[in-house]
Symmetry: C4
Subunit: 202 residues, 4 copies
């Protein structure tokens, strides 16, 4: 974190932190008038799953954002705008997740799953655009001690994202649960550090 | 970012980040009981547009706030109060945007558009007052290495804002869509950096 | 801002920023089905006043919090707990303000005004307790270059707060509007810097 | 706070600050149409208690999080993920607290109390896992000037947490109020600093 990128990171942290905390508002409080508490708690199980998955996914996106900015030292107007676009995607996540939670196992579950995968597809695109913009040699936005291998590694892994989400989109026509499983696998992949050993021995 | 202005910027970042993230709460989750998902998703298209436009506008205001404070080094009580006034305008933005989204194409769309332009008119005024207060030579709030040309450039561009929003207000009597198009054009103008080349080659 | 108090201030900034931004959620969006837009916008004027006043008051409390922590250099467990108590008061402010906005001019306006003044009375007490704790000579929480006159000045002015809010409470039995006017006057008093000249020439 | 942990702490502060501020949204605004204001204010007393207790508990968790990170100097991917898990617990707190507030004294109060204690049980587990991960000698995440006694002290006290929450869970079968009293006692215990004297004389 350099002085120049400090405020972009602080603002992004704020947006991530709020997006991740607002998720709890989607879980309704069962009232005594609504019947036995146990039944009510169990009936809304999809909203707990939706809460947990959205939380973990936004958290993983935060970790990735954090990771990118450890390499970025300078900040220009283009980076600010691309970062805004990425944050637009992040704050939108609770919407398709809630739609999916409400429609899973219902008639329209395919459309809900497509909206869900489509959102992650666009976020993956935004991550790639931001990263390619920042690492473009002409812009000098990276830290002085550029770790070329680490950067090429991130670029390679990120290119993977949009393709897999397209595959998820296609998979919804065969099996919605299978497409969601693939989506979750991809999240686990992005949760793992691209430079696992460096972080620990650094 | 100096130590003295650090907390004002942190607080402002928080307000911008929350205002921009709360916008998603205005989009309703379509439930299975409400009919086909596709129809429901399409029917509320104005709330997506309203979400995206509010997001981008608050984002652009954040970029401008960020830009001003790269020139401001000191902070006094007057600056704190004027900054609060500006933030009051920022947190108010979701209200006129939602009103406009709900009334666009309806009987009262002119009044809704006037409320919308009026809000931006006041925010533009607050930006000008804050900037003129901070750059007033008597107050010594600017950084030591004042870039006189850059500051005069910002002052000139900002003076432009209130006048154009007044024009938007007048345009609502001829055509509401035209007034909104002009408003959006102005946002694009403020998204561009006044010192485009300096940021990149700095 | 020292390293030791940095995280307390960051956390407090977050709470202030969120409390001040959540206020907009209390303003309802008029829908086309609800009748003419103009009538609907005018009818809920108390919620705009309530929004603006809450915003300004929380803003002034933030400025005062900021002011106190320019003198505080160290942080112990007691200060953390007293700061939490103060933040509890701050996040509670939107509730009595909304109650007052809903009941002004109605049968129960006196009780609503008492709840409102009572909240500020407790916040004023918390500000005094926090400040007296921090300035207690035994605790060494102040900055090295203690400005004894400035500190005595703040102590004197803050002692004023609880007494005036008690007077507001008593005034509700004579005139609710008069008690609210006195409350607002007091807010203006706390918005003015106790060390006006120092800040500007520093 | 080191540069490396700065952004994790900033993000966590944001999540804590928002979770603690969202609590006020659970208190409903009594309207004139709902009957006498006094009656309405008194009737919802459980939501004030729920607000105050959630606020204090999240505040105490923030103080503990702050305390742990004064000892942690480095940050790796595992710590980021464990920290996310802990924050997941923190943002979930308002839900069981509201459920308990709604069901206290009703037929299902035991189940509501079990959900409540269970949440704190998991949070206590997450605190222990995070702390043991960070203090594991192989990972070198601690500050250079490790205070071995203070660290062993925290480890010992934290191990206490999950056990006591299990006891609270068991106690619900004998007396729900007694289990809640024990839960609150434990919160007071964690509010006290493990290194009381060091903080003050440091």
């Amino acid at each position: 974190m350099t002085t120049e990128t400090a405020r972009v990171e602080a603002f992004s942290d704020g947006v991530f932190a709020i997006a991740i905390t607002l998720l709890i508002l989607n879980i309704k409080i069962p009232l005594p008038a609504g019947g036995p508490l146990g039944t009510q708690l169990v009936r809304q199980w999809t909203s707990y799953v939706s809460f947990a998955i959205s939380f973990v996914f936004i958290g993983i996106m935060w970790i990735n954002h954090h990771r990118l900015f450890t390499h970025i030292r300078r900040c220009d107007n283009g980076l600010l705008l691309l970062n805004l676009l990425l944050l637009l995607g992040v704050t939108f996540v609770p919407f398709p997740t809630s739609v999916l939670a409400a429609h899973l196992g219902q008639a329209d579950q395919r459309l809900a799953a497509m909206l869900y995968h489509g959102t992650y597809f666009f976020i993956a695109i935004f991550f790639n655009v931001l990263w390619r913009y920042a690492t473009s040699p002409a812009r000098h936005l990276l830290t002085h001690d550029v770790d070329t291998a680490a950067i090429a590694n991130i670029t390679r892994q990120y290119a993977f994202g949009p393709l897999t989400y397209l595959l998820c989109l296609a998979l919804t026509w065969i099996s919605v649960p299978a497409s969601l499983a693939l989506n979750n696998l991809l999240a686990c992949f992005f949760a793992l550090p691209p430079e696992w050993k460096r972080n620990r021995s650094g």
